[in-house]
Symmetry: C2
């Protein structure tokens, strides 16, 4: 396994004749990332993992400064999973000049997290395009937990003719249903106990739909009741959206994605189900 | 020479081991384009020319619907200059789904043409990035007449780590100084006679700077006098900007670019000098 820190070294290392897989991460790797790496390992000859906490995708009041870091464990996990290249750039190497150019994915970033994190998905789409251009992978792997991110990246790659296949990998969960996230480590024991309510509420919504309920207002009301039963939880949004353009639906007539974001103390958690 | 019409055919044709040059055009090729092709031919093993009138970069009241076309002459010129691949996509092949993703190059598009053509440079940056991703050239060639376009493309490629070298090629002019442009064919004989005043005015401004004048307000006044001496000319803008970020300067302390846009009848002409 080779660990490099500059764009130049990445380009020197890569052999463009090989089938390259890229797993872009912000580090603090957990079993969800490990799953991405394993899927990449099974599908590609050369697996690259990037670790970069991207300042561009954090708002001024968000947790950029305190985002968890665990570099030695991250490298161990990469080594254990036979990663070929780990790319850990500095902010200066990723943004050597002021970043004037931004990738904007209109329509898909209007609702859900996009509504509450202005500029976030422009930052994500921009850094992902940079990483795709640096590594030039054949396949890139993203978790389905960040469903809006995955949809936006899929669309930007399609719209911009980027020669890469985007692979979505199912969310990995704890035994009690909590979706794995680097931010889970912010939770104190009491908050951690309340956190699985998010997934429970989403499953509740799904079972109502499977039971025949088509009225989104009614489903929302019942789901919010589940979430509000815990005094630690503050709901940021709960939405039922179509799977392609992520627009809220009022009546369920087709496949939908059910998504929510909650705050527990100072920690923001998101999750979604089909 | 191979002529193709779909993204798929382009990808099949290209041999990624060769040094590929791309000349993106909107067709109606003139000696300025020919110069781009010749420079590409001298620097690259495989030369591709794209001909695509990009709807995304035209405003609602602009000349998209009547933009000049001259396909058979264009193909002759390409053949004569030993172009390997001509890519003439349909709008449907370039934009098979609604284009939600746009590339935005803030700061560089605020002044000059960007001020008078809102959305134009997003459309340009977006289609150029698409073409670069489709053809994956090592070098791409653009005329210096479209100085703001060239600066924006250079910056977007740098900011997004696109693995391509952008080559600027000096403006080709008629004997009387008029910069070649596909839009020159809109001019009637009387308008055509007035058109070289644009270059004459820019040269006037340059010679004042070379003569030691540092006050932009004074240079502007003298230049506008030259332009306003012709009753057919309406000035859209005249600016002196720095060469990198294209911000207007008030006093000349460094290398600058002098740029203007004028209307003659219903035809908009631009030009610039160092």
């Amino acid at each position: 396994m080779r660990v490099v820190h500059t764009v130049k070294e990445v380009r020197e290392f890569l052999d463009s004749r090989k089938n390259i897989g890229l797993v872009p991460t912000m580090g603090a790797l957990h079993a969800g990332h490990e799953k991405l790496i394993q899927v990449a390992r099974s599908e590609c000859e050369l697996v690259a993992v990037s670790i970069f906490v991207n300042p561009l995708q954090f708002g001024p009041n968000e947790d950029y400064g305190r985002y968890p870091q665990a570099l030695s464990q991250d490298l161990e996990m990469c080594e254990r999973n036979r990663v070929d290249l780990v790319f850990i750039p500095s902010v200066k190497d990723m943004y050597p000049q002021p970043q004037f150019t931004m990738v904007e994915v209109g329509r898909l970033d209007v609702h859900l997290c996009g509504k509450f994190r202005p500029g976030h998905f422009q930052g994500v789409a921009t850094v992902v395009l940079k990483l795709l251009n640096i590594v030039q992978p054949h396949r890139a792997f993203f978790g389905e937990k960040d469903m809006q991110q995955l949809a936006i990246i899929r669309r930007s790659v399609l719209d911009l003719n980027v020669p890469v296949t985007i692979v979505g990998v199912p969310t990995v969960r704890e035994a009690d249903g909590l979706a794995l996230s680097s931010r889970n480590r912010y939770l104190n024991p009491e908050e951690r106990k309340a956190a699985p309510e998010l997934y429970r509420a989403l499953k509740e919504a799904r079972s109502r739909i499977q039971g025949g309920e088509r009225d989104v207002a009614k489903i929302r009301e019942a789901t919010l009741q589940v979430l509000q039963s815990s005094p630690l939880i503050r709901v940021e949004y709960f939405e039922i959206v179509d799977t392609e353009e992520l627009q809220p639906v009022h009546e369920i007539t087709d496949q939908v994605r059910i998504a929510a974001a909650i705050w527990i103390g100072n920690t923001r958690l998101i999750d979604n189900v089909y």
